[in-house]
């Protein structure tokens, strides 16, 4: 049996890698994929905690996270395509219109 803490450490590592990806990349599509990575790290932690507590609630939560992630990806990609149509290029540094 692998201890649950190993899964949690792996989840933390994947989340940190996702954060680094969001910060260093300039392509919004890659930033989106890094966000998916972070969502999956959270899901892995949910399943590991549920396994430890012996309850299926963690898995039900992961089910909802998957549904929300699917909706989020669809809307986010549509926004990126709309921005690309408007500007004809795709760099996150150009999108400072709504910045404070």
């Amino acid at each position: 049996m692998v201890p649950e803490s190993y899964y949690l450490a792996l989840s933390a590592a994947l989340f940190a890698i996702g954060v680094v990806g969001v910060i260093i990349r300039r392509n919004p599509l890659v930033i989106f994929m890094s966000i998916e990575l972070m969502l999956n790290a959270g899901n892995l932690a949910f399943v590991a905690f549920g396994h430890r507590l012996g309850s299926p609630d963690g898995q039900a939560l992961v089910f909802f996270v998957m549904a929300v992630a699917a909706a989020e990806v669809a809307v986010g990609l549509a926004i990126i395509v709309a921005i690309f149509r408007l500007r004809r290029r795709l760099s996150i540094d150009d999108l400072s219109l709504m910045r404070w």
Partner: protein, 164 residues
């Protein structure tokens, strides 16, 4: 035995995650992410969550990644991120920030008092237990999810419509 399997799968997961962050070409990044999602599905199997492993492969590695690859192909951003980075000094902070975050989370896990594992055996992660839970305790969030998906669908249609 299972520990060796875990170490191998974890190495694949971390390596493919690093590949996603490091690779210049977004298509390569997307393929690395597919590998990463598959390895996480394997970890779900090791944790006894069979339904989630199947859903992970179908929903994430199947549907969502197809959407990503499609968007990458449509937007042809293969030539992005080649010029000099205008905010290079700002982005040099990324590694310290990520490292500090990782250390913080691991320290939190090490320091926190985790309750001892209950004596009852782990539940089966099959379709039956999840489905029973979704249609009893989580019925209202489940129905809300359908509304959310409908709203996302309508919103995407609105956003993707070519303005006449």
């Amino acid at each position: 035995m299972s520990l060796a399997a875990f170490v191998i799968i974890a190495l694949i997961a971390v390596g493919s995650a690093l590949g996603l962050v490091v690779k210049k070409n977004p298509i390569h990044g997307a393929l690395f992410l597919v590998v990463n999602l598959g390895s996480i599905a394997a970890l779900y199997l090791m944790l006894g969550a069979e339904f989630l492993a199947a859903a992970q492969v179908i929903v994430y590695a199947g549907a969502i990644m197809v959407l990503f690859v499609f968007a990458i192909m449509v937007l042809i951003p293969g030539k992005e991120e080649t010029g000099p980075d205008p905010r290079r000094t700002l982005r040099l902070w990324a590694l310290p920030v990520g490292g500090i975050l990782f250390v913080q989370v691991v320290a939190l896990l090490l320091l926190s008092r985790v309750a001892p594992a209950p004596a009852k055996p782990p539940v089966a992660g099959g379709v039956e237990s999840i489905g029973r839970l979704l249609f009893t305790d989580y019925l209202f969030p489940f129905e809300l999810t359908s509304v959310l998906l409908l709203a996302a669908m309508v919103g995407v249609l609105l956003l993707a419509r070519r303005r006449a």
